[in-house]
Assembly symmetry: C2
Homo-oligomer: 372 residues x 2
């Protein structure tokens, strides 16, 4: 994975860094997240699949770099949407440069992805280049639909959701662009048949769900009282995870009501508004304002809601997960999806036994090891 | 133009409205701005150019609809970036649905533009479809670079700018995607030669600058005292227009200093924060806080800046434009660009005399009539 990351980072720099004319106002910012060294999961999947089919790394590299760029574009905009403060150990782009610049940098990353995919005609030939373009067009549709569904759940505080709703959303939002399409474009670049490309859907689907549940579990492994917002961010955000859906579904009616009420509360917003709150607490004593006046003021500060989630709220949710056995439940589900993925991968005999195929097997194993 | 708007709106609906599964969470929102009936300038240019070359409207319609979708995607994100409240007489998307959903809807519009451009292979054949894709890829690069330059000027309060800086930025930010590329894709869809397609650049460049200066002039035609923020929005935003650049460049050193200081102040932010300010004024009397304490509190509310632009500030800027003759100066420049555009259009003899060519001639005339 480290090799793939290095290759892809070099390719992204090659694609964009030479445009020195506007380097400081745009291209340096485009390279900001990619240079913060993520896991490079998508390029790794693309390169491993291509090579396990006997293809050259050069054939897939521009496409792999493009997928990494799409991924980072989604991250830039996700950070704006969630008002996240940190990304890969540094302040997020909109925190450093403001929302306008961050939105435009994300747009630029989406828009600039088209060119390398068109240049692919020179790299893999016309037919495969068009198949890759069609595959990416489909991928982006799935991603934005999945994101829209999740945002809709949050906005309307929807919790009457089945596990299958969660699974469908995860496959749309991250399955296609993080797992299925990276493998598909690797296969296309290696000259795979359309049947082989189609067979990767089922494997990628199972693997993506196994991964997402594992990710969700890592997020609630530790007690929020001990770690504050670093751990348990999903509870602060009210994210619909398989874990939380299970807890809400299986608990008593009164606990369910309380859980949904807590989850509807916004999390404490970003530093600036928190700072206002601190100042209000500091400068305006309770005696100087009537309770109604203070409530009105706080309501305005918090955007119409007078209550935000507190650490006690999040601790209560965390304890609920424990009481309902939701963490064990989700770990079991992750194992089952990983098993299903392993079975699917076994069926893909045309991915030749090699260190490249072993990368895919290693991802399945990772889920099992994390969820023992 | 009304006919083009109707055709393109129908085409956009055809492309997206049938996806009923996610209609409520995504596709209804994608159609929101396009259905608010803009001018349909870009589709009109694409269709007029195509038909003036003897092409069919069907050949260019999917591409024209895609350009309109790109345009509306930029509008959705621009509204987030500028925190604009209204768009075409109704609240902006992020005001109605929140920033997260608005950012995702804009992303969806960008991402979903790829598919109709790939389907163009069926409509215009492989060669022209690929040329259109290359043209659009280039267009989006110019747009995001232009936007990045303008955001950089605002962020760093840069005013030591020449008219040529303004012209270059305008051509990049709006010239390519609003004028040059719509005509280019119309020409490609009609089977024009690459030489003909290239000749459209110079005409579109002159026309776009003439249009943008005219737009900027309309924005400062009326006295801000009379119209509040509806008119003079560019002054509130501190937008680098040819008009304002002239005024800042030609005035006395002390007025220049004052102008730049005013322009560096943020405009009063959106309703929610203004509401906090009102409440602070209402609930916290001056006696209850020391001046330092109040300044600290306001600074936090306004994001670190203790001063925002006032109506008096904007009136002062408006009066400066009058004193310096900057409005006449810019109107003269608009006329010169329109003249240059007319000369370029005269040279394009291969655009056949027809109602379609007359549309292009009418746009040049519009600039002259507005800036008499």
């Amino acid at each position: 994975m480290a090799d793939c990351r290095r290759l892809v980072t070099e390719e992204i720099c090659r694609l964009f860094d030479h445009r020195s004319e506007h380097r400081d106002v745009l291209y340096r910012l485009i390279l900001e997240y990619p240079l913060r060294e993520g896991k490079a999961l998508r390029p790794t999947l693309a390169i491993a699949t291509c090579r396990a089919l006997g293809g050259d790394v050069e054939a897939v590299l521009p496409t792999a770099a493009t997928l990494e760029l799409y991924h980072n574009a989604f991250l830039v905009h996700d950070d704006v949407e969630d008002d996240s403060m940190m990304r890969r150990g540094r302040p997020t782009l909109h925190v450093e440069h403001g929302v306008p610049i961050a939105v435009n940098v994300g747009d630029a990353m989406f828009c600039l992805s088209l060119k390398p995919l068109l240049d692919n005609v020179e790299v893999v030939g016309l037919g495969p280049a068009l198949r890759i373009l069609e595959t990416v067009a489909h991928m982006t549709r799935e991603s934005v639909e999945g994101q829209a569904i999740e945002l809709d759940w949050i906005r309307n505080n929807r919790w009457e959701l089945e596990d299958s709703d969660y699974v469908d959303m995860v496959v749309q939002k991250t399955g296609w662009y993080s797992f299925i399409v990276p493998m598909q474009v690797g296969a296309i670049a290696a000259g795979a048949s359309q049947e082989q490309v189609n067979e990767l859907v089922a494997f990628g689907r199972e693997l993506s769900v196994a991964f997402q549940i594992t990710d969700d579990l890592l997020n609630v492994r530790a007690d929020p009282q001990e770690y504050g917002k670093e751990i348990g961010g999903d509870l602060w955000e009210g994210k619909r995870t398989l874990i939380l859906l299970h807890a809400v579904r299986t608990t008593s009616a009164s606990d369910r009501e309380q859980a949904i009420e807590i989850l509807a509360r916004p999390r404490p917003p970003s530093d600036r508004v928190a700072q206002v709150q601190d100042l209000l607490d500091h400068l305006v004593t309770v005696e100087e304002l009537t309770p109604a006046g203070r409530g009105e003021l706080e309501g305005a500060v918090w955007g119409g809601s007078t209550t935000v989630k507190t650490l006690a709220d999040v601790q209560w949710l965390f304890d609920l997960l424990g009481r309902q056995g939701s963490i064990d439940y989700a770990a079991g589900a992750a194992r089952r999806y990983a098993d299903a993925a392993a079975t699917r991968l076994d069926g893909l005999r045309w991915l030749l036994a090699s260190p490249h195929r072993a990368v895919l097997e290693g991802l399945v194993r990772y889920v099992h090891e994390r969820n023992r």
